[in-house]
Amino acid sequence: MATYTDDPRIVEFDVRTDEMLVNMGPQHPSTHGVLRLVLRTDGEIVSEVQCHLGYLHRCAEKIGENLTPRQWIPYTDRMDYLAAMNMNLGWSLAVEKLLKYELPPKAKHLRVIIAELGRIASHLVGMGAYGLDLGTFSPFLYAFREREKLLDLFEEVCGARLTYSYLTPGGATADLPQGWLQKVEAFLKQFEPVIAEYHALLTTNSIFIKRTCGIGVLPPEMAINYGCTGPMLRGSGIDHDLRRDGEARYTDMYDGYAFEVIAQKNGSYPRDHVYPAVPPEAVLGDCWHRFYVRMLEVVQAIDLVRQGMERYSTTPGDWGQPIKLSTKLPKGEAYLETECPRGQMGFYLVSDGSAIPWRVRARSSCFCNLSVASELCHGCLIADVPAIIGSVDIVMGEIDR
């Protein structure tokens, strides 16, 4: 049991034990896949965390140099396999940016519906897995009950439940089936009261608050400096969301949609819905706020899907046929970032004029979010390490590509 004196430089340890190098992972149940953490601990206090990556590296970028952009779509699914739709969207937008391809308006609304449903599904897994990290099993099953319904909806659209390859450069592989929108509306209607259950189960649960408030506090300037994006950034109070502040090609998908960026602006979160209050122990930028931002984003995504559905059903025109398999890419390069559930996922595309790109690069959001984990875990207890890594909500497929 370490006691903290007022001078942070001196940390007193109860019993002098020599430092121990403890290995957590790569097959550790709480590290969200194959991440190996080497903790330098003194008794229970962790003094340093080293991440060892690369266990899930599949050379997606090297393969990208031999495939045409549409053939590379399945590789983007396997990066962040919990939000595959958003990955496809990112890659399609980057290719369209290089081609300067003009997208029919109906396709934009279709993409908004699909991307926001993908965000809900991804945040559900993030919330459930975070409950697992803190030791409670039930929220995980409640989360997956709802996610299953979402996956059924995706299965109707594109036949797959996890790696969809549905959104392609030029639009999507197929239009939304008949009656699908009514099913989405039915799902959303029964999903909204369930969110109150999740808040009761975790967000306002006193033990959850004790385990997450004030743990892994990420100051705003450190977040920006380490390149953290998405809920990590907004959890530290920075008002930045690519759906509003991103590149023109990405933001005009969302123009006309009423939504507020979920971040604590001058002390309070947006009040467009009834949200549980922020507990007094919560410090801006700690694990609780990151979790809270994700939960509010789910509610925001529901609104966006509803607005998208109205616009989709009222705009005439073609839903966006995919581009030809071997369209020639103009010489040049393009880089575009989109707001994925875990952060900003960027795709960099260099082409030399042929149908096969010269170089393909994927900027992973969790890659930078995880790099700050060692700073956050400094001086915390061993039990806090999964709590912090869980709040970062990493997916190893995206980090190792």
Binding site: P8, V11, E12, F13, D14, V15, R16, M222, E375
Partner: protein
């Protein structure tokens, strides 16, 4: 089946528990692995508690279990665990030390045996079997009396009026016993505190 009746169960269990106590006490001495020593000590003291139960003193037996084995030995195992790293685990004792230990141990043992044989009642020939009470119900009244300034082993008869029941000058062992245990507690906590190390916390790389 008749053999069953012939066994004096009471002596059988007495022998069992005493063998356990002494056997594991010796095991503690002869074992080289620190953690095994600690565990054998637990079994030995547990068997000693069994002896108390056998003698019908359930309260003292439970007390022995609770205080000795449950408290002190857990503390001892904590100490062993926190320090039992590669270098300390197995301690080889040199031959010279064995001789010294045997000599000292033997001397003390002989002194002890001599002292026990001098007690008149114990070597009286007619120690009948049934004098040793089976396990008829005792109660904690004696303990209560001892706490309120009475000698536990010789309570005054009921006829004496309560006021006179507190004889002057009778010494009561319980109070010094309490003081010693509190003293032991203070010493242990002090040792724990002294073992703390002041360690400079290397400021995290970001601010430095």
């Amino acid at each position: 089946m008749m053999l069953l009746a012939a066994i004096q169960w009471h002596t059988f269990f007495f022998l069992l528990f005493s063998l356990l106590t002494c056997g594991f006490a010796l095991a503690v001495v002869f074992s080289s692995n620190v953690v095994r020593m600690a565990f054998f000590l637990t079994i030995s003291l547990g068997a000693a508690a069994g002896l108390f139960f056998l003698a019908g003193a359930e309260f003292v037996g439970a007390m022995q279990f609770m205080i000795y084995v449950g408290g002190t030995l857990v503390l001892l195992i904590f100490g062993v665990m926190l320090t039992a790293h590669e270098r300390f685990i197995s301690m080889k004792t040199k031959a010279g030390e064995w001789v010294m230990a045997a000599f000292l141990g033997g001397g003390l043992f002989l002194l002890l045996v001599r002292a026990t044989l001098m007690v008149p009642q114990w070597n009286a020939p007619n120690l009948q079997r049934d004098q040793v009470a089976q396990s008829e119900v005792h109660d904690s009244a004696a303990i209560g009396a001892a706490v309120s300034a009475y000698r536990a082993d010789s309570l005054p008869s009921s006829s004496a009026p309560p006021a006179a029941a507190v004889p002057a000058g009778k010494s009561v062992y319980l109070l010094p016993f309490e003081i010693v245990s509190v003293h032991l507690l203070v010493v242990l906590i002090g040792a724990g505190y002294l073992a703390r190390a002041k360690k400079r916390n290397p400021g995290n790389a970001w601010q430095a």
